[in-house]
Symmetry: C2
Subunit: 498 residues, 2 copies
């Protein structure tokens, strides 16, 4: 058999292998989505077993000898491969290499430790009981340190964790980037506070009407309900069941429709990214998100850069009138803007505004780095937490529940995840600057309701490339700028101070 | 290692193997449930791949050498096995033997033929195009005949198909049973027709209120919503995702709440059976339904024997008033009874009343037998259909859509399924006779609202035994009677003529 034919046949096998794994991964997503949206309480134990079963199958598939052999075989003919297949091989190999360094004993130990920490955290958070999870978190930190050693790193051990969520990112770059952002935000924040107007009116908003409003707005910005759904769950999330089936969930507040609306715009941003890969690449790295930072740049772009703009709120107002005719007589778009853009020092990250949000992230990053470098013990974490909140936000949490226990991440074993949220802000500011130029005024486009032009720009510049470029590369390529926090700060100044 | 220990360890392995298969089977149920309840249209292709993937895994697991070896190993120690494990081995072996007779080529050929026939039937039914599916159905009949030869049979080839849905049932017994029933029904039917009252009032019924009414009534008869759900779908069905997660679906008519209500009671009957196995047996034959006939006896018992009784309708009336206060002022329980018990010759099986329903089944059984015996060609099926409908129901379908194309069964490859529906009627009449004695009056129990006593009887006499007994055995055991259509005819006479 000639080389060309071998390459062709092996490429097909390789693609089929990846796509079958993708099918299985979508099944896992459905099990998780249904668990949070539909499952009756009695089904919990059954569901845990079903998810475990699929996860074992997924782990086997993504670390199999069959997959390694396919990659090895194709690598021998690297000069004959088309560019997409080369990317798919590169990224599959990256994942295989990482997995191969983690022995089975370690993987199972970490998985067990996370499950235990998570189930204790579920109890510890509402009961304000840090002691209950302290030992679990010590175990997770110890295992994460071990993971860094097993995976290996060139500069900082933390890089080995960060790389899982933001491939190729290094603390030596991310830390100065986020610290410089934090310094700017600390200065900016009191000026904005002094300037802002408060809005104290609150009305009752029917849940079904909120749902319809959110659905309308998501359609308006380009979410196609033939290829997705919007549902209610205790915690909003986005989940991809597979090509043509991208779902998002919401929760509702009864005295304001804004939390649901901005939740919807955020999840729709994630969803539009997931809907934006080329169909032929679905299931392969060329049809997968680059990093969580890029993912978050999409959600924050739609939620904040677009959604919280005056222009968007103006264009939204007729829809508010449609669903809330009585309440709308008592509020104006300016009132909505004020409510949607309240800035304040708050304890809870997920409730933070655009200005202070990244400060929460810097705090988490510094704590994580210290834990992984063994400069901070878990028992001293609450104290270190308080010191950093005082330093960056000037507040102290009265409880662990609103402090160190507020996020699931650490108790689910995800150390190294937080920085991606702030990278999302920085990335979004960079590409939206270029979009502004390319579209002849981003906010004019919003006023005109030409949302499809915005989405087309994102599709062409970011979504359609899948994992072809690294996160930094795609941002530089799409924005024409070097990575810097300057553009995000400029955006905030422009929005809040002018 | 001593025998006792070997048996113990192998039993545990065997149980785990069965339970893991059950987890996977529940995943398949969820994929199917979601497909019909939630999936956006764009997800169809993705979902088909996911279902195919799980079905391949399920087929591999249920025909694996690992499973055969476990069964063989345990069979060597049959004297040391506990009774439950013996049942699990007996039933697993039954399934393994059948599967082992069907070679891979045949299985894949039948699966493809069914998929093709189904997708053509979807088009053929609304367009009244029998020609479009004639060839597909010929293929399915030919493959079904081949299946009979591969599986083997002692008396009639049809038994090899019937056995898949109603294990151990034989045409030599089922056919005379159903034919004698048909003779009685043909006599009974005109007498009832002459006697019945018509009820022509129709009102508008809000869908949400219908849903709440159905939910209330399902709770009343014992469906536990902590362990299940009720949703809307195009075609009502019941689906078991796993222990603690048993779901059912409904559709709504806007001019009557009765179709939804009786749909709910029917599916709840199936669901209560699925909820009634012992927890420790879940996932094994000892925690599985015996046969489709027994399953149908549960749904028809709750829908018809209980749900369409005067006593139930009286006890239901306050709930009707609660959800439909305006409409309820214009109708009485008697009106509801009349509407719920209208008897008529109708073309569509699923819309047929209690009296004529089994006649539809007899027609299907006779046609299936003739097809499998090669006494009837598919091309002549519509003519044979018309002759039998004229003979048993005195009507002729003006279209194929309301005739031979009305049911999915044949076009999905399920020949031999239909008789189980009529067996369900016969079985339900038999055990409800005994329940009447045991509870000191079944309908008194209904009037008193002591539904839990009815459910407890079913649990104890039928559900909890899983597959321990054959269908005939459990009916004889629970009713103390020999299988006969007499009790069902008596029930109808008592209901409609006294």
């Amino acid at each position: 058999m000639n080389s060309q034919k071998t390459v062709q046949e092996t490429s097909i096998q390789f693609n089929q292998y990846l796509k079958e794994t993708y099918s299985l991964s979508g099944i896992n997503s459905l099990l998780g989505w249904d668990q949070q949206v539909n499952m009756p309480p009695g089904g919990a134990e059954t569901r845990a077993k079903q998810i475990e079963l699929v996860e074992v199958l997924l782990h086997k598939r993504s670390t199999s000898t069959e997959l390694s052999e396919l990659v090895k075989k194709l690598e021998q003919y690297s000069n004959l491969l088309d560019p997409d297949t080369s990317v798919n091989i590169r990224e599959t190999k990256r994942s295989l290499i990482r997995q191969s360094k983690l022995n089975e004993k370690f993987v199972s130990e970490k998985s067990l430790a996370c499950a235990k920490a998570y189930s204790n955290w579920i109890i510890a958070r509402p009961t304000n009981d840090f002691k209950l999870v302290q030992h679990d978190l010590e175990k997770i930190v110890a295992l994460s340190i071990q993971e860094c050693d097993l995976v290996g790193y060139e500069e900082s051990p933390y890089d080995a964790l960060l790389d899982l969520y933001e491939p190729h990112a290094r603390l030596s770059k991310v830390k100065p980037l986020l610290l410089s952002l934090a310094e700017e935000l600390k200065e900016l924040y009191p000026i904005i506070l002094a300037k802002q107007k408060h809005n104290n009116s609150s009305f009752a908003y029917d849940e079904n009407a909120q749902y319809s409003l959110c659905k309308d707005i998501c359609s308006t910005i380009g979410f196609d309900f033939n290829n997705g759904r919007l549902d209610k769950s205790a915690h909003p999330f986005q989940s991809t069941i597979g090509f043509g089936d991208v779902r998002m969930t919401l929760r509702f507040h009864h005295d304001s429709f804004l939390p649901a609306l901005y939740g919807a715009l955020h999840e729709a941003g994630h969803a539009l990214y997931e809907m934006g890969f080329k169909q032929e690449n679905i299931g392969t790295p060329m049809g997968s998100p680059i990093s969580l930072g890029i993912h978050e740049s999409q959600s924050r772009f739609w939620e904040n850069f677009i959604g919280r703009s005056k222009e968007f709120i103006n264009s939204l107002f007729p829809t508010v009138k449609k669903y809330f005719p009585n309440q709308a007589t008592k509020i104006s778009p300016i009132d909505i803007w004020n409510e949607a853009n309240q800035v304040s020092s708050s304890l809870i990250r997920v409730e933070a505004d655009e200005v202070t949000y990244s400060l929460h992230i810097v705090i988490r990053m510094l704590l994580e780095e210290a834990l992984i470098k063994k400069e901070l013990a878990v028992k001293d974490l609450p104290t270190a937490w308080d010191e950093l909140y005082m330093k960056y936000l000037g507040i102290k949490s009265p409880t662990y529940s609103d402090g160190v226990l507020q996020d699931i991440h650490w108790f689910g074993g995800s150390i190294g995840y937080f920085p991606t949220y702030a990278l999302g802000n920085i990335y979004a500011a960079m590409f939206s600057k270029k979009m502004d130029t390319d579209l002849g005024g981003l906010y004019k486009t919003v006023t005109d309701g030409r949302f499809s032009e915005i989405l087309s720009w994102l599709r062409k510049e970011i979504h359609e490339h899948g994992m072809k470029y690294k996160a930094e590369e795609i941002i530089k390529k799409s924005s024409g700028l070097e990575i810097s926090s300057k553009y995000f700060v400029d955006y905030l100044k422009n929005k809040f101070l002018i």
